[in-house]
């Protein structure tokens, strides 16, 4: 099944070549967790500060158990802030 993975700021470089608009449609196996998908991109867990599935925060304690569904948008940022 497919999900959309969005990687921003310093994480952009972990997207596959040719990815545009900071995102890549990604084929995953049913039952894959957020953590497993992120590991597949080679993302260091400590760089995954803000992890959102369809815009809703997934706390670190749930990332290895939270599974994704078809069409989910998984968006990730390193520690960032603004104002």
């Amino acid at each position: 099944m497919k999900v959309v993975v969005k990687l921003y700021a310093m994480l952009e470089k972990y997207l596959p070549p040719g990815a545009a608009d900071n995102q890549a449609a990604t084929e995953i196996a049913p039952g894959d967790s957020v953590g497993r998908v992120l590991a597949g991109f080679g993302l260091p867990p400590e760089m995954c500060h803000l992890v959102l599935v369809n815009g809703v925060f997934v706390p670190p304690s749930e990332r290895m158990t939270r599974t994704l569904k078809e069409g989910n948008h998984l968006a990730v940022w390193p520690p960032v802030a603004g104002g």
């Binding site: 959102l52 815009g55 968006a75 520690p79 960032v80 802030a81």
Partner: protein, 614 residues
């Protein structure tokens, strides 16, 4: 001690500049900058005064840390009764001007009355005089700053000035220092213009003393290490700036779009930090470099350059150079609020906001409201001088920015701000504002705490009075759920009090992504007499907040003004995590009043006033 102990009082009507001692008893209670400036203003003006009348005063105030080598210690604030709001106004700016004021020998400059003709203040190491500004009246901020430096043959002078917008009474005109840093909100530039005060030009090399140099340097070094080690202040902010929030806030469904009709913008990524850093077809990127204000070790500022073939600058070399921006708030207001997804058009509009001294937040939000009025036919092209005010049209944005910056044509109407403009066209409900000041870049349906933040902000809608986004979205210091109201009253109060203390110290609130008051108190204590502890800073913050509230109540504001527009309370968000939600202000406000020690009508109780020595 880090206070100079001296105030410069400038009587613009009489043309006099006089020194007077700082009220040290007040400094011990209000610390400096925002707190101390507000105390002086509250003591010296009638809160019911017309903000643009000579009876209003305009105070430029530094904090005790301003001009020291504490990180970010270059801040100053402008305190006055706001032209846009009629409420207490306190606009904070970085750059280098605040440091120069302190080093010129003053904690604070108080401007009173109105000059019979345009003047500027020239202050050189304690020697102050008013100078004829006839040659600068009608000039932009950029031309004024360059002109004053040339006139005095001193390129190291630091200048804060108004552009044409401030002269013409654009109600969200700001005061711009160092070309592109601004005391931006509430129309402090319009107040300056009403006083016929074009600019303040400073030169200061006197130095700033601290109470205990050894203790101060140890605390400052520790603080800088913490900023460098923190991933946000050490890496995220310098590399991507505040603009990194564009995609974050859009993803969480809280990016107000097209006058808050929507809460997600399809063009967000095109106007984001990532877009600024991306290579264009010409091989360059919009972002040229980052930049730091005085003494800052974060350096979040952006410096950008427009593609020279872009329609805004192709025939206008003046705007082809690198200049300040875009920061997140400006990019949101000029972009998502108007539906414009053209990064270079936004960058140009931001340059013009700096050049002529207008607040891009209130301007962009007001233009968004005008675009909605245009769409429904309440405004026509007859009103706009033939310009079609369509959502998403970059030329409508850039033309209106230039007109508003000069206070000309329909720009003069936009310059009234959204509240007065929407009332004029019979649709007051379309003004997305609190106390007359437009919302910044966070939709209160998707970030519930920000609804309470906006409703209770003493200077009208503002994110910088209690930036609960930090907790609700970014997880600093702890992550809270943005979609619920539980705990938000306490969160807002805690942020409001802590921020009021930081704003009174002379440092930047962005340090608080890494620092708590526990990191700040030793720096203040090393610099100042008074045994400054975290508890004492929190007490100062709460005192300042209540003093501002008292000022507003005396100006005529009541609990009825702690209110959000119906759109946020009745029209649910259409997309994103907050889909189906409105802001539930009514659930948070009574608890907030209670936590504040205020009556159910939002009035500080006698016990609270006594506790805070007010």
């Amino acid at each position: 001690m880090a206070w100079t102990g001296k105030i410069l009082r400038v009587d613009l009507a009489k043309g006099t500049c006089k020194d007077e001692p700082l009220r040290m008893d007040w400094a011990k209670q209000y610390l400096g900058q925002r707190g101390l400036g507000t105390k002086y203003l509250a003591e010296e003006i009638d809160p019911k005064v017309d903000p643009l009348a000579p009876g209003n005063k305009l105070i430029m105030a530094t904090g005790p840390l301003t001009g020291t080598n504490a990180s970010t210690a270059g801040r100053y604030s402008v305190i006055t009764k706001g032209a846009l709001t009629g409420a207490i106004a306190c606009s904070n700016s970085g750059g280098f001007f605040g440091n120069e004021m302190k080093n010129a020998g003053y904690d604070m400059i108080i401007f009173e009355g109105r000059a019979p003709k345009p003047v500027y203040l020239y202050l050189n190491n304690g020697d102050a005089k008013l100078v004829d500004a006839a040659g600068f009246w009608g000039k932009s901020v950029w031309d004024t700053e360059e002109g004053i430096k040339a006139k005095h043959q001193d390129p190291l002078i630091r200048v804060a000035s108004i552009g044409v917008a401030g002269e013409k009474g654009v109600l969200f005109a700001c005061i711009v220092n160092d070309m592109h840093r601004a005391a931006g909100r509430s129309g402090v530039g319009a107040v300056m213009g009403s006083k016929n005060l074009k600019a303040v030009a400073l030169r200061g090399t006197l130095g700033v003393k601290v109470r205990d140099a050894k203790a101060f340097m140890a605390a400052v070094a520790k603080g800088k290490q913490a900023l460098a080690a923190n991933a946000v202040t050490g890496q995220g902010l310098p590399k991507y700036g505040t603009q990194v929030l564009m995609n974050v806030i859009n993803e969480v469904g809280a990016l107000p779009t097209r006058n808050h009709r929507d809460s997600q913008f399809e063009g967000a990524n095109k106007i984001s930090a990532e877009a600024m850093a991306a290579k264009r077809p010409d091989g360059k990127s919009n972002l040229v470099t980052n930049a730091a204000c005085f003494a800052c070790t974060i350096a979040c500022g952006r410096v950008s350059q427009i593609d020279r073939t872009h329609y805004t600058v192709a025939e206008r070399p003046k705007y082809q150079v690198a200049s300040g921006g875009l920061e997140y708030e400006a990019a949101w207001a000029l972009g998502a609020a108007t539906g414009v997804g053209d990064l270079d058009a936004l960058t140009f509009a931001n340059f013009v906001c700096n050049e002529q001294g207008i607040d891009p937040i209130s301007f962009g939000a007001t233009l968004g409201a005008a675009m909605e009025l245009y769409e429904m036919g309440a405004i026509t092209s007859k009103d706009t001088g033939g310009i079609e005010l369509k959502f998403g049209d970059p030329k409508a944005l850039t033309e209106m920015t230039e007109l508003t910056g000069r206070g000309e044509g329909f720009g003069a109407i936009l310059g009234l701000g959204s509240k007065r403009m929407c009332e004029k066209y019979g649709k007051p409900e379309l003004s997305m504002a609190v106390k007359g000041q437009e919302f910044p870049a966070y939709d209160a349906r998707g970030i519930q705490g920000m609804g309470l933040t906006y409703a209770t902000s003493n200077r009208g809608a503002c994110h910088l009075r209690s930036y609960t986004v930090s907790s609700e979205i970014l997880g600093v210091p702890v992550k809270t759920d943005p979609l619920v109201t539980e705990g938000k009253a306490a969160l807002v109060k805690a942020f409001q009090d802590a921020t009021a203390a930081v704003d009174s110290a002379g440092i930047c609130v962005f340090t608080t992504f890494a620092w708590t008051l526990d990191d700040i108190a030793p720096q203040i204590d090393g610099a100042c007499e008074g045994n400054w502890t975290t508890a004492k800073l929190l007490e100062v913050g709460e005192r300042v907040w209540n003093l501002e509230r008292q000022f507003n109540m005396r100006a005529g504001f009541t609990a009825k003004d702690d209110m959000l527009p119906a759109r946020l309370l009745k029209d649910a968000a259409k997309t994103g995590p907050a889909k189906g939600l409105v802001n539930q202000l009514g659930k948070m406000l009574p608890e907030y009043y209670q936590l504040r020690g205020w009556t159910p009508d939002g009035v500080p109780s006698n016990e609270t006033l006594k506790r805070l020595a007010l």
